[in-house]
């Protein structure tokens, strides 16, 4: 059970090797966390990550999960929620893809959209249902500031996140006032595997800052959290930047 101060005892991570998610799990491990389930594409590749969490005194299971394989999602969710409660589901999978390729290759663009948006929708609906039956829990979804103002440099990724963000907000509205809490997390640029080789954007931050924002958001039952927090004010400002200026800023 989540306690009164937002500390959770169990977590299921979809995209269990995500660096942002792992930083969050480690932060939770220093609180009340007892059990973590890492759901990953390739379970063999996650053994090191699992051991590091075990070293913090948390019991860890690694299970197979592919966001793109939407057919498998209903059975996957049913299996996750059969025996014990899950206090927190962290939806952290995602790919940026290669925008230059996606500019002209519809198949690649669809691959990005399919994983980030369709894959998430497909797994979030049964998860929300299961949590509602369980009567309590938090679903935290890794969206992005890219959902707020899409950039030329990664607009297919941005549009997939915009769809995911809108879906997450709708889900949050659906469960408002119940025991199920749904939250969209909008990080700015975070130095992780995903952004290796990219030029850091202004307000670039670290996985620890995002993890802290997620944990604080769970506690406050926030609907949207930004990391770093200043982006809460920066992004609305960027949204109203006229398009001709925006095009120059992000050329």
């Amino acid at each position: 059970m989540r306690d009164a101060l937002g500390d959770v005892q169990s977590v299921l991570v979809l995209g269990g090797r995500s660096e942002i998610a792992l930083a969050t799990v480690h932060l939770l491990a220093g609180q009340r966390l007892q059990r973590a389930v890492l759901a990953v594409r390739n379970p063999k590749a996650a053994s090191e990550e699992a051991d590091r969490i075990r070293a913090a005194g948390v019991s860890v299971d690694v299970v197979k999960f592919d966001a793109a394989d939407t057919e498998s999602h209903a059975a996957f969710v049913a299996a996750m929620f059969t025996d014990r409660d899950i206090d927190l589901v962290l939806v952290a999978f995602g790919i940026v893809g290669d925008q230059a390729q996606a500019d002209h290759d519809a198949q690649h663009a669809l691959e990005i959209v399919h994983t980030n948006f369709q894959g998430a929708v497909s797994v979030l609906i049964p998860i929300a249902d299961a949590m509602s039956r369980q009567g309590h829990g938090t679903i935290a979804v890794l969206s992005s500031v890219a959902a707020v103002r899409p950039r030329r440099a990664n607009f297919v990724y941005s549009s997939s996140k915009a769809g995911l963000d809108a879906f997450t907000n709708g889900l949050a509205d659906m469960y408002a006032g119940t025991g199920v809490h749904v939250m969209a997390v909008r990080p700015g640029f975070v130095a992780t595997r995903m952004t290796t080789g990219m030029k850091p954007a202004p307000f670039a931050t670290t996985t620890d800052v995002v993890a802290r924002a997620i944990v604080d958001g769970i506690r406050a039952r926030s609907t949207v959290v930004y990391a770093p927090a200043i982006l809460r004010f920066v992004m609305p400002a960027l949204q109203i930047v006229p398009r001709f200026v925006w095009r120059k800023m992000r050329a």
Binding site: M1, D3, A4, L5, Q9, F81, R84, R133, Q134, G135
Partner: protein, 458 residues
């Protein structure tokens, strides 16, 4: 047999911190209860999530709710069944509130020996948490003569400390996890008037306060100290001590003495309008505490007041938890044995240093403990503090308090708790294993569950 009312509801405790969804049943006959428990009995899977009893929802945390499962409300089981004047006992259904009981009993010259700091508590909740009050010679279940308990495995059974002590003392303070109490007989105290004779003393600091509380020379029956948590340094623990006895007819002014047991409902006012939702910070708390402290005269003085005025001053402010805003608050209440007064002092100091705005801090003391396997009271000091849930780093602060309490062989109170770590809880309650054994006999399949039982692994 009729079927009970059913509805789906988001429930939370008084602190408003942990909402969850339950299917709420409102049986109006004890005979409906076994079927509810059976329908929700756990099969180890996630679908069947068990049941838990709920009274008036005045426990602060997650004791009287059951995410995804059933909640058996006692709202429609709230009749006073029988007063036995010769034996000084009353037989009631579990949903009867202390307030309703007082209204019925006081004019007849009786008083429910132990009553808590609010009248809006049910008899079932009184047993489930083995509640205590300003009376320091016992807690609620010490005055429960017998009760009917509907258990999952053994069905309805009569329980009392004489006939089946193990079940009785597992139920006293057992947080509803041994069964649903559907009826109880309480032993009463005889009173001559409906008034309390109260002595009020201001205490300079915490040592002064504890010394005054240990002084039994006034022969008082009830005592409580209200501490100004924001006073620090030399003023740390600045407080107002109230001690009281039931007034005798001779204590009353002539016009009251004609009808000494007359009992009017207390006045009630809404939360002060100058305190908008969520506007609770160290400034408003300071102002409140300053007012509260100043309202009592400098010199010790004696007054005669009504029972609710002495016992339930908070009930006169309707909806006061709203001042903590939408994130709610937790109440931290612990007890430490005599000889560990320093724990009370250190906790007050740290709270003051952390600028933790505590609206209320109440210090009481106990003379005895009982055989309740999970009962809270033990001889010693008990301090209760309200803190806003969003105070930064609160769980770490409270974990450190838990360690201090644990080192002193003390414990925290489950009726107030919403966040203690399971390992620390287990260390605080040395009879936990025995309680688990009794529970396993009454409920081998965990048909009784609550958010609290899941959180603490009970």
């Amino acid at each position: 047999m009729s079927t009970p009312l059913v509805r789906h509801e988001t429930l939370q405790g008084w602190g408003r911190t942990s909402p969850s969804e339950s299917t709420v049943y409102e049986p109006d006959s004890e005979f409906q209860v076994p079927a509810i428990l059976e329908a929700w009995e756990s099969d180890g899977g996630a679908q069947r999530r068990g049941s838990i009893a709920r009274g008036l929802g005045r426990s602060y945390g997650d004791a009287a709710q059951n995410a995804g499962g059933a909640v058996v409300s006692s709202a429609a089981l709230s009749r006073i069944l029988e007063l036995d004047r010769a034996a000084a006992t009353v037989r009631v259904e579990p949903g009867v509130s202390i307030e309703a009981l007082l209204k019925f009993l006081v004019p007849r010259g009786f008083f429910p020996t132990v009553i808590p700091g609010t009248g809006i508590v049910s008899v079932g909740g009184g047993i489930g948490a083995d509640i205590h009050g300003k009376f320091r010679h016992g807690s609620f279940c010490d005055f429960v003569d017998s009760a009917t308990l509907v258990t999952p495995a053994l069905g309805p059974m009569r329980i009392s400390a004489e006939t089946n002590a193990d079940v009785f003392w597992a139920t006293a303070g057992g947080m509803g996890l041994t069964g649903v109490v559907t009826e109880a007989t309480l032993r009463l105290h005889r009173i001559a008037t409906s008034q309390m004779r109260v002595d009020t003393t201001r205490c300079r600091d915490i040592d002064d306060c504890m010394t005054a509380m240990m002084d039994d020379s006034r022969g008082e029956r009830y005592s409580v100290a209200w501490i100004d948590c924001l006073a620090n340094g030399a003023n740390l623990g600045r407080s107002i001590l109230e001690t009281a006895v039931h007034a005798t007819v001779g204590d009353l002014p002539a016009e009251r003495a004609r009808d000494p047991l007359a009992y009017g409902a207390g006045l009630s006012v809404s939360a002060p309008p100058w305190m908008p939702n969520g506007l609770l910070n160290s400034w408003t708390v300071k102002a409140f505490n300053e007012l509260w402290f100043r309202k009592s005269p400098k010199r010790p003085h004696r007054t005669t007041v009504s029972i609710p005025t002495f016992f339930h001053p908070l009930d006169m402010v309707k909806g006061w938890p709203s001042i903590y805003g939408r994130h709610g608050f937790v109440q931290y209440q612990f007890v430490v044995p005599y000889g560990h007064e320093h724990v009370v002092r250190i906790i007050l100091e740290r709270l003051s240093a952390a600028k933790c705005a505590s609206f209320l801090a109440v210090l009481k003391r106990f003379e005895t403990s009982n055989a309740g396997l999970l009962s809270f009271p033990m001889p010693g000091w008990t301090l209760a503090l309200d803190v806003p849930a969003m105070h930064p780093g609160l769980n770490k602060i409270l974990d450190a308090f838990d360690d201090l309490v644990l080192e002193a062989d003390g414990r925290v109170y489950l009726a107030k708790d919403a966040r203690v770590a399971p390992q620390r809880f287990a260390a605080m309650y040395p009879h936990l294993e025995r309680w688990r054994e009794v529970r396993a006999r009454l409920d081998p399949n965990c048909a009784l569950q609550s958010d609290l039982s899941r959180r603490l692994g009970l």
